[in-house]
């Protein structure tokens, strides 16, 4: 950190919050709130005279509130930059610090928060993780029993710069301890709190146990665990060393801790699963290895940065295997535990990777993006004709569309991710997506349904999940009906109602509307838009009197090949259950309604020309001139 602060090309902005992020890759405009420190950075030399003079003491959050600090403070002695700070919530305005500072005149009570706007090329988010507070788990008595502490408190208690200057002692009577228990998975792997595994706590418990064993060799240390996870290089050897050093590993999650109220001794009853019986042991102190959870303000920051969150609340990466350090927004990268709990080696690796990815942007004059971006037909956009609309702007999950009444909508190409949500939503068909234009998708639908359409199941798949699911079903040799015809678009949000009307107009037997699970959507809120539209269509088709077996909505992930095959087979069975004459009569009955809905289809630029060619191919197919 000191090296980073000394490097002339690195500017450390401590005590500063990100208020707003605008712009796009290479051209971000970031609004920062430089919070008032009430100490002038250009004058303070870090002499600590103000802190010595300050009469106010409050708990120091850096010491897990185990030690006090002054109202004029730095959180720890290695703070970078070494500039003191006055905590205005605690300050009593006695101005003793001003006196103590003397001729330096660094203390300035008139300072105010300053808003600064910076032009930024790339952003690396490295906000880390928060800690689960075990107080709600009353069975472990944290907060009630003084000798039950958390892992972070233990970290301060045995730190040579910590509140006890490194001598480990019990909080209840300041005596040294002989018997220590460490309980793993406190709040993690627990469906009541956080169902995920926190990744590093097994190794962390072993590290702490070995460290304490080295400090106090006669100490008796037990680790209660459900499973010990040592997946990385050298970790299993470290676990071996711990067992060799005499640390006891007890497989069994304790249901609770009891305390002797006089001596504050703690008792843990647990099942020793490997021994097959219930054992009870007495301890002087218990350390709870609590879960790693997202930072408390992670929800807020995700809306500031406009990046999505995974189910656990962590920031969602672009791709879990191939692009784990990229956010779905170009130019924003993740490093470390803000993207998911991880240990130091993994955080460092991800940080270096993120820095390398960011430097690609900083060293480029131009930036290549995916070619599937949205384009507005300005002559068709009703906003340009003076009507109020703005549907595309509201549909865009990335804020890539500018809408001003009276001017046709404008796509900021560098921000566009090519989901096609705007194309799916636009009621006037005045916006399209390159490589997935209406003409292109309609051409695919017509050729797929050229022959015996009433026997076909037309499956709309999203690029990221259900297409991958279908792919997996194929590579895994899961058999499904050969009457399925798949059609790929980027997102379920792109699955325009017109496309589905067209399928039914051509007489498709059944249509599958499929995409990602809501938490997996690669376009932040694309799936939500798709799901809404699918529900709307479902209702409409029911009103038209369409057989419900002919339209189905399913969310299928890329790992669910079996589900894809099952859904298609179920749809085939449902389609087979409809008598042929009934199905044909229904198709004929609905055709005029679909045609009515598609009356303006040929006005979409490119469609008419494309359809002339497609109709030729279709007629060739129907005459068996080309293979079906």
């Amino acid at each position: 950190m000191v090296d980073a602060a000394r490097q002339p090309l690195i500017e450390v902005k401590a005590y500063t919050e990100v208020e707003r992020v605008e712009g796009f890759v290479g051209n971000f405009k970031v609004t920062l709130r430089e919070k008032a420190k009430y100490v002038r950075a250009d004058r303070c030399n870090g002499c600590a005279a103000c802190a010595k003079a300050c009469p106010v003491e409050v708990p120091n959050y850096f010491e897990m509130n185990l030690a006090p600090r002054k109202a004029a403070y730095i959180p720890m002695s290695q703070s970078v930059p070494l500039i003191y700070n006055i905590d205005m919530d605690a300050c009593i305005h006695c101005y003793k610090c001003v006196e103590a500072c003397g001729a330096l005149e660094a203390i300035d009570f008139s300072m105010e928060d300053k808003m600064v706007e910076e032009e930024i090329g790339a952003i690396v988010v490295a906000t880390g993780f928060g800690h689960f507070d075990p107080t709600p788990m009353t069975e472990y008595g944290y907060g009630r029993f003084p000798n039950v502490i958390t892992a972070m408190e233990m970290e301060r208690l045995n730190n040579s710069a910590g509140p006890t200057r490194g001598s480990l002692m019990r909080p209840s009577d300041s005596k040294s301890l002989r018997r220590l228990a460490i309980i793993n998975c406190v709040g993690s792997r627990d469906k009541r709190y956080n169902s995920a595994c926190s990744n590093f706590c097994c190794m962390y418990a072993i590290k702490n146990a070995l460290l304490l064993k080295q400090m106090i060799p006669e100490m008796d240390i037990s680790i209660y665990y459900i499973d010990i996870r040592t997946p990385s290089k050298g970790y299993e050897e470290f676990y071996d060393r711990a067992r060799e050093a005499g640390i006891k590993f007890i497989q069994g999650r304790p249901a609770g801790i009891t305390e002797d109220p006089d001596s504050h001794q703690l008792f843990i009853k647990s099942e020793d699963i490997t021994l097959g019986r219930v054992v009870e042991h007495e301890y002087d102190m218990v350390m709870l290895n609590q879960a790693a959870i997202p930072q408390p303000d992670q929800n807020h920051m995700s809306s500031v940065l406009n990046v999505a969150q995974s189910p656990g609340g962590w920031y969602m990466e672009y791709h879990p295997k191939l692009r784990p350090m990229d956010s779905p927004t170009d130019g924003i990268f993740f490093a470390g535990a803000c993207q998911g709990p991880k240990d130091i080696p993994a955080s460092v690796a991800q940080g270096s990777a993120a820095a390398a990815r960011a430097s690609r942007i900083l060293h480029s004059d131009t930036w290549q993006i995916e070619p599937t971006v949205a384009v507005v037909w300005e002559d068709r956009c009703v906003s340009g004709k003076g009507q109020a609309c703005g549907i595309c702007e509201r549909a865009c999950p990335y804020g890539a569309i500018d809408y001003t009444k009276g001017i046709s909508a404008e796509v900021i190409t560098a921000k566009c991710h090519g989901c096609g949500a705007c194309v799916g939503e636009c009621p006037h068909d005045s916006i399209t997506q390159l490589h997935y234009t209406d003409a292109q998708v309609l051409a695919q639908i017509r050729t797929l349904l050229a022959v015996e359409p009433e026997k076909k199941i037309l499956a709309f798949r999203c690029q990221w999940c259900s297409y991958g699911g279908a792919d997996l079903a194929g590579t895994s040799h899961f058999e499904y009906s050969a009457n399925e015809r798949g059609l790929r678009v980027m997102c379920s949000a792109r699955m325009d109602a017109d496309l589905i009307y067209e399928a039914y107009r051509l007489g498709a037997g059944a249509v599958l509307f499929s995409g990602c699970h809501p938490q997996d959507c690669h376009y932040i809120t694309g799936q939500i838009a798709g799901a809404k539209r699918a529900a709307r269509l479902d209702k409409m088709f029911a009103r038209m009197g369409m057989n419900p077996a002919r339209f189905r909505t399913e969310w299928i992930s890329a790992a669910e090949g079996d589900k894809y095959a099952r859904v298609i087979n179920e749809m085939q069975a449902a389609l087979d259950a409809i008598p042929q004459d009934e199905l044909k009569a229904e198709i004929e009955r609905l055709k005029p309604e679909m045609e009515k809905k598609l009356s303006k289809l040929n006005q979409i630029p490119g469609v008419e020309e494309a359809m002339i060619q497609v109709d030729f191919i279709v007629s060739e197919m129907q005459n068996k001139a080309v293979p079906v």
Binding site: R189, K191, I226, G252, R253, A255, D272, R277
Partner: protein
Amino acid sequence: MSLPVNSKLAEQVKAIPGGEMLMMCFSCGTCTSKCMIQEKLEPAYNPRRLIREAVFNLEDMAFNDRTTWLCSACDLCYPACPQKIHISGVINAVKQLAVARGRQNPYQTAKVDESTCVACELCVEICPYEAISLIGKKVPFRGMISMASVDPGKCMACGICNAACRSTSIRLEQDFNDNLVVENLWGWLESEAV
């Protein structure tokens, strides 16, 4: 309730309400260390082991396991379980299956006194396990009457029906009968008085 007989034990347990989450168990042992029956009554009592037996379809082991028959469904373990498995629900499901296979509960269940039961339905209403129902039965000297009947597959021997019955027609016979409870109560009161 008809139970599927030919499928595997785990599948059957999952099919019975309360046993749905069976496969989520990762054998952490929290339930066993929370259990009062294990602590006070039966050191070999082990709900975790029973769940494991059910997961691996070990029917005979599960049906012979005393854990199957001794659970009082106090549900101390349920809120402690990190996987939110309704453990007493699983045990109850195993027990129902055991009874359906003709196993006898080796421990006591509530017994109805045929000569005094008046079919007032107090016990039917109060039983937390829905183990009691009214049946018609021909009884010596009383003829065909309506009376309470206890399903041994559902009874947890909690004794609530015993306490509720106004004609002392339903009771636990062995370990916690009225006399024993009163004796214990006197003994406790005397020791407190000292």
